[in-house]
Symmetry: C2
Subunit: 252 residues, 2 copies
Amino acid sequence: MDIKSKNLETKHNKNNAFDNFFKSAFTVDNIIFGFDEADLKVLLIKRGEVPYENQWALPGNFVYQDEDLNTAAKRVLAELTGVKNVHLEQVKTFGSVGRHPFGRVITVAYYSLIKISDYHLHVSSIAQEAAWHSISEVKGMPFDHDEIFVACFNRLKLNIKRQPIGFELLPPKFTLTQLQHLYEAILEEKLDKRNFRKKILSMDFLIDLDELQEGVAHRPAKLFKFDKERYRRLYEEEGFHFDVAPTKHKKK
Amino acid sequence: MDIKSKNLETKHNKNNAFDNFFKSAFTVDNIIFGFDEADLKVLLIKRGEVPYENQWALPGNFVYQDEDLNTAAKRVLAELTGVKNVHLEQVKTFGSVGRHPFGRVITVAYYSLIKISDYHLHVSSIAQEAAWHSISEVKGMPFDHDEIFVACFNRLKLNIKRQPIGFELLPPKFTLTQLQHLYEAILEEKLDKRNFRKKILSMDFLIDLDELQEGVAHRPAKLFKFDKERYRRLYEEEGFHFDVAPTKHKKK
DNA sequence: TCAAAAGTGTTCTTATTACACCCATGG
DNA sequence: CCATGGGTGTAATAAGAACACTTTTGA
């Protein structure tokens, strides 16, 4: 992403009445989710810049003057992880007056879903250091990052039941148990195994690869992959609904 | 809302490296929904300012340097309609590079729900003129306002099934048919009368006022009001779900 | 007495829930 | 042969969908 210094300033300088308003900055912050067999994780950085240098925080960056919001979010992600073509969703914008010590900075929060195996740390200008943190440990971040994290996690919980995004977090081949654990990690509740399988298979977007797990000290599980086309069609045409009973608990 | 000229600029001027980024403006735009017996409406303004002076557009305004985003959205609403304490939801932020001819302007879109009867036009600095438009007529607005409208309307469709917001659009006393028409207008489909009533009454947040409509040329309908407390509890405790069959159409 | 909208139940179908045992593998 | 997780079905209950006629009022 190269930064051309466009003539935006000269354009708005024609309209002096508005100049007072062109004094804000805005940023994107990115909650990068990954799933590691059993745990839902978030990629945090150790900040390489003031303010809050050296603290663990959400990866984010200023949005350049000639850069769209989504582009900026993708850039942050790519610089940090080297991963492109990622599922990205804008969640909410945070703009409290006092949220940034340097002035008025509004931030647009995104979440993204990546396969943890695709990730290879690209230490960049954004960060001195980056690391995956379990979602339970994500607390005490600077700015309003805790609040941003909660908003994004809640959005993910909502979306996982309605959108074809589960596979973004899994390797291309996975077992039904892995998929169930992913849902459990996101929804933060245990699900009933038989009901989960019945429902997910009835939806008809999983392809049985006729392959088995290898090297596990128990009966090997079958491997599946997502049929993205079907998954997408299901979502677009009829509004996909995923809901199964938690284990041993009356719903409602 | 008075505008103090805080010392934000001097604060960030200490950090010259960032100064390049403090050149953006941001605004809020507000999709104000109202419901008028049969039709869902949106309050548009005839712009009193450049750019696009005299065109119908979404009401919005720059966010002041010392004003939170929600506060700005409420201010726009209050200046335009005189209505306060309104249901307001942030939907999405739009920030394409070229969306505003005066420079980089990011806008945070909100929707709000008001009782159309509470509204008395306060022509303000924001608008020369304001008027309710049926949602079907809302097209051809300047900037990216069409896109913003669609995003907000879609969000409303989603929320009406999950959140206790229906009553925000109705007068304090209403009939079941009015309520059904509201749902139909938002969801853009006809619903089955008996199923609608069965479901909505079983949820137990409507209070039968033992009053009847007057002066109608047909059997008068009973009047109900919302029990806001119950409605809210229902939502918070168990995640309220509203879904009824459209008339004469197989679902799925 | 007519037009207009209010009000009201039942049956059928589909989806959700609860629940427990045998199987295949590696160590 | 044991520990570990994989894999499977059925019955009971609840929710959703389809559907048509009688009632009350004002004009």
